[in-house]
């Protein structure tokens, strides 16, 4: 028996399994193919997709979705999805973890800023008056109205029973 006992938090893994894309974490056999193609790992030694998967297999909740988790360094490049021989889709596991961090309230504060525009205006980018003028100057047609109410209706949370 090794001196340090290895504890696995299966409850956390169960929760991860229920997130879209989360279940595939079970297939990881720790080969590091994803690390070899990961640009975030290349430019920042604190980031390593194989280690994130290992922590997921251990159910290391705090390390993964606590404050300052490395998951936010992922550049969303999909190279790991392309390369992984086990169909783990590491980026989708990372996104499932990000969703869990958002629920827990530990996501970086600027995430809310970067994503709230969609729920408030239907678009991710704010239409500045400078761009409005530029569109006119370039002779582009007027923008079609955005069906904001429909969008808000479909992302509304169900009323708690």
């Amino acid at each position: 028996m090794p001196k340090d006992k290895l504890t696995v938090n299966f409850r956390f893994r169960e929760r991860l399994n229920k997130m879209p894309g989360g279940k595939h974490h079970n297939y990881c056999y720790q080969c590091s193919a994803c690390v070899a193609v990961c640009p975030a790992a290349r430019f920042n030694e604190n980031f390593n997709p194989r280690q994130i998967l290992l922590k997921a297999l251990l159910g290391a909740e705090d390390a993964l979705i606590g404050e300052n988790s490395p998951i936010w360094l992922c550049t969303n490049c999909y190279s790991c999805y392309e390369r992984c021989p086990q169909d783990v889709r590491p980026i989708e596991v990372i996104i499932a973890l990000k969703n869990m961090a958002v629920e827990k309230g530990t996501a970086p504060t600027n995430l809310a800023k970067l994503s709230e525009n969609i729920a408030e205006t239907g678009m991710s980018v704010t239409f500045s008056s400078a761009v409005k003028r530029r569109r006119e100057e370039l002779g582009l047609p007027e923008l079609k109205p955005v069906p904001l109410e429909e969008l808000q209706e479909i992302i509304k949370d169900d009323k708690k029973e």
Binding site: L73, V102, I118, M123, L148
Partner: protein, 301 residues
């Protein structure tokens, strides 16, 4: 494959092009009709939604909004083209995920029912460059050219989302892509290889340092290649590289001065349009070097 003569498609503009880089929308609106593509603008779309931040926030809601956009196109009865790598990534992945996971599809449709919509999964979504390659053929591009970009060397930046994951995107080999190289060659320009051609621009990373290191590595590599300009397809990459060069010189003290040109702006130049007609004057890094080279170019028939 038999090629089509004319096509009617619904453009899905997304947010970045119409609301941030309208010069890209301009280039598309001017160049595609010369290839026999008719753009049928329809009402009812929202943001795709963005595949980085909104997806990180809530993937189910992200899928729901994407499915709503697809359902709007299904009702309109034409296929969709997108010109933005982010939009194509979201819409294709949503289609793939909803086909793969019936439970998620049911949840998404339960939400869409609130507005009397349903996602059936019948509409085809393509990136404009894929439609040009597969449905029209590059000969159509060659025929539309009035001023070949002879002598112009282009460092192509593919960006990530148009290619990967290839089993969802169905665009090209993600390690040895050719689609943009072939298009640029059809314009008469010369694509140049360089080491960091496939490196991610880093924009999707929620860190200040890392993206600068990544764009820096890409520019070092392009500078060594001696290319006249960078040619790209993604508006988000564009912000990393055009404005990104200003940031690099401010924060890292390194100035490159490599013009960054959207592929459809290059097409417009080759079709004989002036730089202002494709909105090149709106870019931070000016493309004088490229324009100088094509000054006297005319098509020899």
């Amino acid at each position: 494959m038999t090629k089509k003569n004319n096509m009617k498609v619904i453009p899905f503009w997304g947010c970045m092009m119409p609301l941030k880089y309208p010069q890209m929308e301009l280039a598309i609106r001017k160049t595609l009709p010369n290839l026999g593509i008719e753009l049928v603008d329809i009402e009812g779309f929202t943001c795709c939604p963005d595949p980085i931040y909104f997806k990180a926030r809530d993937k189910v809601k992200w899928l729901t909004i994407a499915a709503r956009n697809l359902a709007v196109a299904e009702e309109a009865g034409h296929d969709i083209i997108t010109m933005c790598s982010g939009c194509i990534s979201t819409l294709k992945e949503a289609q793939h995920t909803l086909a793969e996971d019936p439970d998620l599809k049911a949840e998404v449709n339960r939400r869409l029912k609130r507005i009397n919509k349903e996602y059936r999964g019948e509409v085809s979504v393509k990136h404009a460059v894929v439609m040009i390659r597969d449905d029209l053929g590059l000969d159509r591009v060659r025929e539309s050219i009035k001023r070949p970009l002879e002598g112009v060397t282009v460092a192509i930046h593919y960006g990530c989302h148009i290619l990967k994951p290839s089993q969802i995107m169905h665009v090209d080999d993600a390690d040895y892509p050719a689609i943009l190289d072939d298009l640029v060659s059809a314009l008469g320009a010369t694509p140049l290889e360089h080491h960091e051609k496939l490196l991610c621009c880093g924009k999707g990373c929620m860190d200040d340092e890392l993206p600068l290191d990544m764009t820096g590595a890409i520019f070092e590599s392009i500078e060594k290649s001696g290319a006249d300009c960078m040619g790209l397809i993604c508006p988000t990459c564009f912000s990393s590289f055009d404005m990104g060069q200003i940031l690099l010189s401010r924060k890292k003290g390194k100035t490159y001065n490599i013009p960054v040109i959207y592929i459809f702006q290059l097409l417009g130049l080759a079709q004989g349009m002036g730089p202002e007609e494709v909105g090149l004057h709106t870019h931070r890094i000016k493309a004088d070097k490229v324009l100088e080279k094509i000054k006297g170019s005319v098509k020899v028939t």
